[in-house]
């Protein structure tokens, strides 16, 4: 049986060799094609703008090089699937691609990403990146595989007029989960047509439902930053009361009708309605969203809404009972990487550095409302003045959490999403969903890598 696997691998390897050989002949006649893969949707065009500009600049300075832009229209999950499939053959594998920090370590293990250690060593701009950004592009082996485009934090975004109409004092400063429920109840009672407080859940929104949902709760429970993954022992946490209580909170929000309807929550494109219609029309009180929120409303954004600056406000998500550090945030971010099967790794890295140089980084970070990771960009006046919320969301870096940077993380993330979906659809109680999650985690990482925090 094992020989068959080898045969399969050999066939694949032969295929990639042929592919590489095919590409190499391009170089001989002085031409090369660089394939660049990224996400582009109606609501997310910032990266397309960046790459279109860099393509023009790069082709002008590199004779015989053609940059082929291959945008993928789809959700983050669709993109991850398509990207992984494209890496299965050198024919389709991109040279430069947009990579989620969440999938990075698993993709490194799968052999999709080129080790960039020797490349960044000779790159002057590398010193501009802060340490957290450098770490975001590292694999399990500590080598650098990708370069950060920017990071983000998450907070509650709320519409002040809805809160005022419910008799809640603005600026609103929730101290605990109970404060959220109280505010939601007040909005619900005073404005029947308004969704009081949304918190994403379920598998349809993918990783977003964890980052803009469950983790905001879990990381604010008793175990805090170690609630999902115990950093001291490098083990995954199971059986914690915080996990069940977080699910119970989600259960309450959805059951009481404070959040979106379950049907809406299970629509993967619902976030476009949240930004595009619900907030501008005042039919939503609050939602948990990323620091990039203003990018949709600013001039040139996907859902332009000039009044957002005075209609909206942001505040940190509270911890369960108001315990230290008082607020919770989650950080993620996306990177650019070079394909391990690229026939032109030097050119590909050069393209990457052009896309991430000072001017292009600044333009991208401002258009996409990202939190800058380059020191020179962060210090630029146009960055701090890009929108009225830059200061507030950047401050959240002090209470922010990062997801466990391990290769099995993306599988665990799916299990968390399944647990929240089971709770909001009512197919499992919070306690049952937590037990199912515990069993799934143990099956993924093995009993030795699990710690029970009863």
């Amino acid at each position: 049986m094992r020989t068959t696997t080898r045969l399969g691998v050999a066939t694949l390897a032969l295929g990639s060799l042929l592919g590489v050989a095919g590409c190499t002949s391009d170089v001989d006649d002085g031409t090369a094609v660089l394939k660049v893969t990224y996400i582009k949707t109606d609501a997310f065009t910032a990266l397309d703008t960046l790459f279109t500009n860099v393509k023009t600049e790069f082709e002008a300075t590199h004779d015989g090089v053609t940059v082929e832009l291959l945008p993928v229209a789809g959700t983050d999950d669709d993109y991850a699937t398509k990207l992984a499939l494209s890496h299965r053959s050198a024919e389709t594998a991109p040279d430069v691609f947009y990579e989620d920090t969440m999938a990075l370590r698993a993709d490194v293990e799968a052999g999709f990403l080129l080790n960039l250690d020797s490349y960044v060593a000779d790159w002057d701009d590398w010193a501009q990146f802060d340490d957290a950004a450098k770490a975001a592009g590292a694999g399990d082996d500590g080598s650098i595989y990708a370069v950060s485009l920017g990071t983000d934090t998450r907070a509650i975004w709320y519409r002040t007029s809805v809160f005022e109409a419910a008799g809640i004092e603005v600026p609103w400063e929730p101290r605990s989960w109970q404060d959220i429920l109280d505010a939601a109840a007040a909005i619900s009672a005073s404005q029947p047509g308004v969704v009081p407080f949304n918190l994403y859940a379920g598998t349809a929104t993918g990783e977003g439902s964890n980052m803009q949902g469950f983790y905001q709760l879990l990381y604010g429970t008793e175990l805090g930053a170690d609630a999902l993954y115990d950093s001291a022992t490098s083990k995954w946490v199971t059986g914690s009361a915080g996990f069940i209580e977080s699910l119970e909170f989600i259960d309450t929000l959805y059951r009481e009708g404070y959040a979106l309807s379950v049907a809406e929550a299970l629509d993967g494109n619902i976030w476009q309605q949240v930004f595009g219609t619900m907030f501008p029309e005042g039919t939503l009180g609050a939602t948990v969203e990323g620091s990039y929120t203003p990018s949709f409303w600013i001039d040139g954004g996907s859902f332009e809404w000039p009044e957002y600056a005075k209609e909206m406000a942001t505040v940190a998500f509270p911890t369960q009972h108001g315990q230290a550090p008082g607020g919770v945030s989650m950080s993620g971010g996306w990177t650019l990487a070079v394909g391990a099967q690229s026939a032109h790794p030097e050119l590909a890295f050069e393209f990457l550095t052009m896309a991430l140089n000072f001017e292009n980084s600044l333009a991208y970070v401002n258009e996409n409302s990202q939190i800058a990771v380059r020191a020179d960009v962060a210090a630029d006046p146009s960055y701090t003045a890009a929108n009225p919320f830059v200061g507030a969301v950047t401050e959240l870096v002090s209470v922010t959490n990062f997801r466990p940077a391990t290769a099995e993380y993306n599988q665990i993330s799916v299990e968390v999403q399944k647990a929240t979906e089971a709770v909001i659809t009512g197919s499992l109680t919070p306690r049952e969903a937590a037990a199912a999650y515990d069993a799934a985690v143990e099956a993924i990482v093995g009993p030795d890598r699990v710690i029970t925090q009863g």
Binding site: T81, E109, A263
Partner: protein, 286 residues
């Protein structure tokens, strides 16, 4: 030498049919994944994927949903509706027959994706159905969410009936006029003629059509994916949807192929049953 003309067909079958089947079988015995270490270096896990399937609560549910979906929307509804329409149209006036045929066939000629969007637009919260109900003063539920299986079953009946109808129409036209007339002279009424004369004569067509629509319906993917994506939860996740979700949404290629292999087996069992049913009358004739 007499088998020589078959060689190209056999080679095509081997490459495009046998190849993927073997690939699926081999894949289901590994822990192949979309990403991570198992993507670079899949390991043999033997029957572990199948053992996990048996312990997975979603699997029996998915099998049940597939059986219900196939039985209700294909075997029962499409056959009865298709045959009924075909019989009715042999008696209807040419004008009415043409109108009915156009309406029914319209659903069939639409590309699957378009048909799926049409069905989605019909059943969704603010869709055509609920707007029609609204005219009557009724407030319809969110069909795709509250009754996902009913919605996809109706959509599949709407889309698939034309196929059986057309085949039965062709078969009914082949039934010799003299035989029905003879039965009529013997005093058989309409229903008796249908049951004792017409149906036995088109028996082979019925079996073939049943086999085709069963296999087609077992593998329906686009329609359900567009309408409900298998949700809410797994409430409309038939085997094709479940296999796709596991393999490409959650990245467990090995597990997904194990589900696909089970699906292959189910399809094979159905085929064998139907093929045997087809063979019996020939043996008698010989």
């Amino acid at each position: 030498m007499r088998t020589l003309p078959l060689v190209p067909a056999v080679i095509l079958m081997a490459v495009f049919l046998l190849g993927p089947i073997i690939w699926s079988l081999v894949g289901s015995l590994t822990n192949a994944a979309l990403t991570g270490r198992a993507a670079a270096d899949p390991q043999w896990v033997g029957l572990a994927n199948y053992a996990a399937l048996l312990a997975d609560p979603v699997f029996p549910k998915s099998v049940g949903l597939t059986v219900v979906f196939t039985l209700v929307s294909a075997v029962l509804a499409q056959t009865f509706l298709g045959l009924g329409l075909a019989v009715a149209m042999t008696r209807a006036s040419a004008g009415l027959g043409a109108v009915v045929a156009t309406v029914v066939v319209a659903a069939w000629i639409l590309p699957e994706l378009v048909a799926a969007f049409v069905a989605y637009a019909f059943f969704s919260q603010d869709g055509t159905l609920n707007q029609l109900l609204g005219v009557l003063g009724l407030e319809g539920p969110n069909w795709l969410f509250s009754f996902p299986m009913i919605a996809v079953i109706f959509a599949n009946i709407w889309r698939g009936t034309a196929f059986s109808m057309m085949i039965y129409q062709a078969a009914l036209n082949e039934v010799p006029q003299e035989i029905t007339e003879a039965a009529m002279l013997d005093g058989a009424n309409g229903a008796k003629r249908l049951v004792y004369v017409t149906l036995p004569m088109i028996r082979q067509t019925i079996t073939t059509t049943l086999m085709l629509i069963t296999l087609q319906t077992l593998s329906v993917f686009t329609l359900i994916w567009v309408m409900t994506a298998g949700g809410p939860g797994n409430d409309s996740a038939t085997l094709p949807i479940y296999a796709f979700t596991e393999a490409f949404r959650f990245g467990n290629i090995g597990y997904g192929t194990a589900i696909a292999t089970v699906m292959l087996a189910v399809g094979a069992v159905f085929s064998v049953v139907y093929i045997r049913a087809l063979r019996v009358p020939r043996e008698r004739a010989a």
